[in-house]
Every structure is written in C-alpha cells, then in structure tokens.
C-alpha cells in the first residue's frame, strides 16, 4: 500500500506487515460507493516538513536554554503548541467531507478514462488532493484548492493500453492544510474498476464483409450482407494494399492525384454479425481492435449488428444478439474487453 520501505526490510516481514495492514484497512474502510470522513477513516501523521519543524522547535529551545532567554523559550513553546493545534486544524479541515463515486467506468485503451468523485462539504475545506493509491497506475494527482460548501467533483483519470477489466484499488485522498506540517490522509475504497475496450483500429470496409450467423439458414440475408458495400458510392479513400483492384478509382490515378479506391455505402436494415474469426489478422488482439472499430462505426451509423466471439452460439456472454444503440455498443465493447 502506501508504505514503501526506503530501507530494506526482509520481504517476508514487509509482506506480512502489508497483508495485515491490508486486512485491517479493509475492515476499517470497507468498499462502498459513499464515504464520510471521520476519525475512523482518517489517518493523520506529520509530514517530513512537520518533522523538520519539530527539529527546528528543539533548536530554538536549545537557543533559548543556552542563552537562558525566557522569551526565546516562550517562542519555542508557542511554536510547539502551534504544531499541536495545527494537527487538530488539519484534522477538522479534513473530516466531515463526503465522497461519492461509482465503481465502474468504461473507455478505450490509450484513452483517458475518468473516475468522477463527488465531494460534498458542509463547510469550506482547503487543499484536497486525490489520487489512486497505486502510484504505478498512469494517473495524475488531482487537486482542489478550495472546496466550498456544496458539491464539487474531482475527476481522476486513468489510462491503459491494455484491454480488460482493471481493478484500480483504493483512492488516496489527502490534505496538507493548514501549514503542511501534517498530512491528513485516507484511503477510500470505492471498488473502482475500469473496463478497457480494445483500442479501435481502422479497418477498411473492403477488407471485411459482414456475414450472417453461419448456422442461420437465411440465405437472403446472407446474400445481402455479401453484397454490402456495393450499393451506393460514398467516398474515396487511400488505397490500402490488399484491396481489390476493381475498386481503384482509375480516373484519379490517371490524373496523377494518387491511388484511391472507391467505397460504397452498405445497404441498411440487415442483420449483421461481427465475427472474431472473420477479422483479417492472425493476432487475436488485432482482431479485437478491428472489432472495436467496427462496433463504433456501426453504432455511429445506427446499424444493427450482432457480435459473435465464439463459434459456440449458445455461449451468451460471447455472442450478443443483433441490436442497435449505445447500450448495445457498450455491451459489445465490454465483451471485447473481457474476451480471453
């Protein structure tokens, strides 16, 4: 967790310690959508500056004692008491805050995925910082200088280049108000996880043609889907190796404007199946990336499609019946993300 031994402690000892700490922590701060800060879940300890401040106070005390100077002694006592009262102020600045966040967030690989955390305050709080406790994640620490009475939102970002379901662990929220002498900290567990979709990889329509579910004996739809991409001319795109020469826009080529190929809009309203094994690559990840792209494209053009990741049509988690819309897209992408 947050404790990183600077000097080497035998691994077994530190492991034991960490495990125990983890267990204690999960009892102390269980997984919840909403947390309210109080003395149960706030940890408060002096920062390095706080410790050096204490050393400084001792130095001033020595100065006062060596000169037998009561005013300097009083000065050092005052500084020492400030240390204590700042601790309390630090605690009160931090406590009573409420945090709310949803556990699940979705997004593409290499894109920023936001984890909004709603912070509700009854009074003004200062210097609230939040970041994922696991610092190895690619994520920035977020900072609110002043959290006024009411609600505010912290958006933690997460980015990964690998698809899948990533558990992000706890969120560390801390504040060094008032004087940076103390760090009030808590490690909240919202059960955050990110579903990271495969990154969409451009696939030229010509390289792939939709197919109907093979077992379905509906020849007509098979036919139409086969003829997808031949109806209406839609656009010119740069020629990609492997495309049929029949589609080459000869006119443009002859004029010397470059090698383009013609693309045609598919006819709509057909049941289309996106199939993993039809994707033009040997690598599963690349195939998933193509699928991710196609799902996006089809949703954008509002076409119905189904997703089939496994040959076994009865496997419902792997095969999603054709549908349209945002939720369908998410379901499909989630299936891609979780494919293994």
């Amino acid at each position: 967790m947050g404790i990183m031994p600077a000097f080497s402690i035998p691994e077994s000892v530190s492991g034991f310690f960490n495990r125990n700490f983890e267990r204690w922590l999960s009892k102390r701060i269980p997984t919840r959508d909403e947390h309210q800060l109080n003395s149960r879940n706030i940890m408060i300890y002096p920062t390095r500056f706080g410790l050096s401040y204490l050393g400084f106070v001792v130095l001033v005390f020595f100065l006062g004692t060596n000169y037998q100077n009561n005013i300097i002694l009083l000065f050092s006592y005052l500084l020492a008491s400030v240390f204590i009262s700042v601790m309390l102020h630090s605690f009160y600045n931090f406590s009573q805050l409420r945090f709310y966040s949803r556990a699940k967030q979705l997004g593409y690989a290499d894109d920023l995925i936001y984890f909004p955390i709603k912070v509700t305050a009854d009074k003004t709080h200062y210097d609230i910082n939040a970041h994922f406790t696991d610092r190895t994640l690619i994520s920035q620490s977020e900072h609110i200088a002043q959290c006024a009475q009411g609600s505010e939102e912290i958006k933690l970002t997460y980015k990964s280049s690998k698809r899948g379901k990533h558990y992000l662990g706890r969120v560390t929220v801390f504040s060094e108000y008032s004087l940076g002498l103390f760090k009030s900290k808590t490690v909240l567990d919202f059960g955050h996880y990110a579903i990271v979709y495969p990154k969409a990889k451009n696939l030229v329509a010509g390289q792939y043609q939709f197919s109907a579910q093979p077992d379905e004996p509906n020849m007509e739809s098979y036919q139409t889907t086969n003829s997808v991409g031949t109806d209406d001319f839609s656009e010119l795109k740069s020629f990609v190796r492997g495309e049929s020469r029949a589609r080459t826009a000869w006119k443009q080529l002859a004029k010397g404007q470059g090698h383009y190929s013609k693309h045609y809009q598919a006819s709509q309203g057909q049941l289309q199946w996106l199939k993993l094994k039809d994707m033009p690559s040997n690598d599963v990840e690349t195939q998933l990336a193509y699928l991710s792209f196609l799902i996006g494209e089809l949703t954008a053009t509002n076409q119905a499609f189904g997703l089939s990741l496994s040959a076994d049509i009865n496997n419902e988690s792997m095969n999603i019946a054709p549908n349209v819309g945002f939720e369908h897209q998410q379901a499909c992408l989630t299936a891609l993300a979780l494919y293994s």
């Binding site: 001033v60 004692t65 100077n69 300097i72 009262s85 994640l137 620490s141 690998k162």
Partner: protein, 726 residues
Amino acid sequence: MIFFNKKTSSGSVGKAKVNFCLSRKNAWLLWLCQCLNIAVIALELSTWMLAIISLSLAWQALLLHNSRDRIKTRKKEATVKHSNHLKKQQQATIVSPILLGIFALLGCLAIALTAKEVGILASMVHLLCFSYVLKAFELKARRDFYQLLLLGLFVLASSLIFRQDLLFSFITLTLLVINLSVLLQFFSSEKTFATNIKVMAVILGQSTILAVVLFLVFPRLSPFWQMPSAKSAETGLSDTVKPGDIANLSRSTKLAFRADFGQQGIPNYSQLYWRAMVLEDYDGRQWTRIKAALKNTVKQSPSNTFSVNPNDSDIVPLNYQVTVEPSFQKYLFALAPAIASNASNGIRAKSDFTFMSSKIITQAKSYQLSSYLSLPLSLVLSEHSRTVNLNYPEGSNPRLEQMALQLKHNYPDAQARAQAILSRINKQNYSYTLQPPLLINNSLDQFFFDTQAGFCVHYASAFTFIMRASGIPARLVTGYLGGEYNGSNNEDDYSEKGHLSIYQYDAHAWSEIWVKDKGWVRVDPTGAVDPERVNSGWSNELLQEQSKLNNELFSLYQMKNIAWLNSLRLQFDILDYQWTRWVIGFNSKQQYNLLKHWFGKMASWKFALIIAIALVISMVMLMLFLHLFNRSKVKKQPLSKWQLVYQKALGKLAKQGIVKPVAMTVNDFSKQVREQYPELAIVFTRLSVSYNCLSYQILSTDEQLKHIVKIQEQYRDFVQTLKKQP
C-alpha cells in the same frame, strides 16, 4: 491486472517537482515577510551587510516584477503551452547557481574577515541573515520554500537574543503570525491574506493555552553548552568619565532599570542616589575606576566591607527589588549602603559599596537589596585609599589649586570647606545646562572660572578636585538620581503599589568626601546650582533643552505635557515592568516557588507528575476547545426562511406519522404524501414546489421575497388543512 509503467510514472513525479512555483501573490508576500524579518534584526547587522541584504532584496523584487511582465507577454500569445510558461516564470526568479555561489562565497569571506571585529555571535547572525536572503533566489522545490520559512522564523528567534522588552516581543509575535500566514497562504491560496492572518491569529491564540502551561511547568534547564554572548553596544554609564560625558547620556530616554519597593514608602527623591561606580583615579582629564590589580589589594582589608549587625533593631532596612535592563556591562545599582538579600544571585558587593554582576548583563536581571540609608559609609579609611583619594596631577588646574589652598586656610573643617564651595557655586553666576561650552583639554579651571556652565560631571569633578587639592579625601561617584514613580499615587494609602523607573537621562555624578567619624559623606554640587534637579527631577527648561537636542517626533517633554499620552506611556511602562518581572525574569527558582505555592512542597517525582498531568490536561483542553470551535462553525450555517418553513411543515407531518427520509428528494416525498394523505396532497405539493423553486432556481431578490411570502401563505394553508384532519 494492473498495468505497470514505471518510466512514465517516475517521469510524472519528476515533473511535479520541476513545476513547483509560487503564485505571484505568494511570492510577493514571502518577499515582504523577508523584509520585515530582516528589519527586526537590522540593528544588529553592520552597515555593509545591510547594504548587501537590501541589494539582494531589491534584486529579488526586480526579478519578481519582471516575471510578471513576462507572463503578460506570454499570455498574449495564446498558443504557448502552460508548462512552457511556468518554466519561463521560474527561470525569471531563479538566478544561475554559479553566480549565486560566487556571491555567497564572497559574502561568507567578508563575514569571516570581519568576524574578529564584530564578535562571534554577530557574525553568526550575519551569516544567518545572508543565507536567509540568498535562499530566496533558489526556490526550486517546495522543500526550499519550507527551508526559507524556517530560516525566517530562526531570524525572528535570534532577534530575541538582543531585545526582550514587551514592545519588541509583541512585534516579533506579529511577525510570527505574518510568517505563518504566508505558509498558510500556500495551502489556501483562494483566501485573502487578511483572512489567513485572522486564521493564523486564531490558531496562535489557541496555542497560547498550551504554550503558557509549558512555560510555567516545563523545567528550566541549565545551558547545554557555552554560547557566544551578545556584544551589543554598551549602554549607560562608562567607567571613564570626562566632564560633559553624562550630558550625552541624558539625551537618551531609554530605560536603565526599575526598582520596586513593594509595600514600603519610597524614600524622598533627594535620597534616591543610585550608586553605580566609584571613580577614584583622576589624571587631569578624566576620572577612571582603579585598575583591578590595585583593587585586589584593597579587598584584603576586611574593614572596608559593609556588614550590618541584624541585632541593631533601631535601624529598619529598606528592602527593594531592582530589575536592570540589559546594559551589556557589569555594574549594578544600589542605594548605598546596602547588602544583597540573596548572595547566590551572581552579585558581588564591593568595598566601595557598589555592586557588580558576575556576568555581563545581556538580558533583564533582577536582585533583592536591603539598604540602610541612615548608616555611614565605612568609618575607617585605609592608608592606600587615602593616598588614592588625595591624588591629583599637580599643576593641571593651577587656579583651582590656589583656591583650594585658600579655602584650606579659611575653613579648617572639612564639611565647612565643602559648604563654602557649594555656596560659591550657588551665589555666583553658574548655570546648569545640557550643552556646556567646549573646554580645552577638559580643563576644570576653565569651567570653574570662565565658562561657569556645565552639567553634573563638571560640578562634581571640580568639587572633588578642589577637595583633593585642599587635602580632603574625595572621590567621584556616578550613577542615577531619582526615578519616575509609576503606580497608584495615594499618599494616605500605605499599601501603595508601584515602581520607580529610572531612565538613562537620570544619569548623574556626585562627590563623596571623607570626614572623620562620619565616613564617606555624599556632597552633590549639582544641588547648589540646580536644586530642582536634586529635589524633584528635571526642570522644564532642561526637558525643553533635551527635546530640542533630540529632534524626536515624540520627545519626552511633549509626552509629559500631553496628559493622556503620558498616562498611556505610564500604563505601558507598568505592563512592560510586569512583563520584565514575570516573563523575562521567570527563572527556575521562581518556577519552583510557584509550583510550591500551588501544590505545596513535595518530592521531585511528584513535580514531574504534576508537569506531565498539566501538559496532558492542557492538551485535552485544547482539543476540546477546538472541537467545540469546529462544531459551532458547522451549526452556524443559517437556514434560510423557506428552509425553516419547510422544516416546520416536515415536523408537523412527522407528528402525523409521515417521516421524510433524509435521502429522499422533495418531489418524491410530496408524491409519497399524495399517495398516503390525498387530502394534504394539493397544499403540500404547492409548498414543495415553492421550496424547490426557492432552493434551486436563480432568483432576483425581489422574486425571492415574493416567493417567500407565497411559501408562508402556503404553509398557513397547509397547517389549516392539517388541523381539519381528524
């Protein structure tokens, strides 16, 4: 599951460090804070150091100013990235380390070279201030900012080595608040600096509880190691006096010491001759104390030391406490003859009835004395002492010598001879002035016969010289005369409480002649020329003269003439006295006495226990206090009118058995009411709608007022409908 990418993460950490940058407001506040801190200790710094420091501060200010211009130009070019512009700003306030290093090296060299001249402590203070100013040029990380602030606090603490009076302590405290507020500003930059100062003052106020307890009960330790002592300019009298010297001193309105007589009546003004030094060696130009080697031989004759038989019941001693201000000298003050009540105080009584401190007085020090004003000073005069006190360089002032011989002839009795001189001074046209005409070679002849104008030292010197020349042992004594009484001035009330404040301008010089069977007799020739000075203090003419010489905005003369200002001054003096007595002078003995007074005499482990308990209790008190403080703040949020109305309505409903869960929205609840109590539906829904409208819509004040009136009507309807219900 978790994706590792150490390279980028460490990169982002590195970036965070580079990006440290104070906001402009903070940077300027820090700069201001530095200026103030330096100003507090400026008196202890030499001129060249002050020049360097002000140069650096000006440079710093220039850099800060330039950085703003740079930002402005950057902002115009919208395309420039944010990080880039941060970098630029940083570059603007950071000077190249090589240049800074050379500068620092030169400064340290200069400090080292002058170290012998100014003393170790002063050069350490120089070094501290120098590094404090230079550190501001390299604020690269937050750590540097912290270091700079701590350095500033240390500068404040070390300024307290040199001065501890109430006013100065208050200034230091104010600066402490400002310093900490700058730090606070760093963490709550959205607040204004004024609010931050307020918050900091509150925090410090809360901390005083614990600080005071610590001060009272935390054991006073003896010094851990020897520290270089402060070598400030000596103030007050010096052990060499030329005619005209004390006149300079009398321009100073600084406090010299205070005397507290407790319940006893204060002696008459004319008896308050505070003895500081006896000057016996006259070389024709100046009076000096006898060298230490000679003194040792004097010491061996025990007859000269003063002692009182306590059985002499007819003599009532005058007990008083003297609190001296730091003079950076050793001599102390007493009304002779006196004995120190507790000898263990680092006070030495000397054979000439003066007192010396064993250490140089660098901070306020108090001691108890008992004086026997009616007793004579040493009835026996040693042979050595007689020769010393008759010695004068012959031929230095021939006219005075001649006059002395004549007087010796005319007045064989010592005291009659002295009286003759005094009456001559009184009758002839002598004047008492702060600005005596210059004397060639400090010639007493010239003063006594030609200029005939001078200050106390002139008269005392001339008088002593004449007495010596005429064969009577005489010596010059310097010290202070009188003092300002500060306290309740009820003459008939015996339990008067107050103290005498003796200022530098009360410095005085007088003579003593040795008379057989009477010992050393005090003769003050000043009384002959200016009786008011001896009997009640400075005359108005003298005060006016002083204020003219001083050129001060608020001279003492003006102060004394404006009643309320004077009373304010006296009030402050009382406060300062209490501060000096109870805070500056609070030593381990007083601490022990205080604890004994509170808890009775007991074993030391019990004391330790009491200390621990006191600390814990004060800590708990502080926590409790803060807890309540914090609570009240939360409660303080005022509910607006409509919220109150709605709450009241909810209360009525709750009595009927419909309780609104906290998490339920207003609309949902009104739906629930509609389902459960259709009779209430209309009125309550209206109320809810108005409430929502008031709470969540942005309304002008007029509209708001209208709505509030409406919601109140609706509430009345609601209550009526509710009453109709069975």
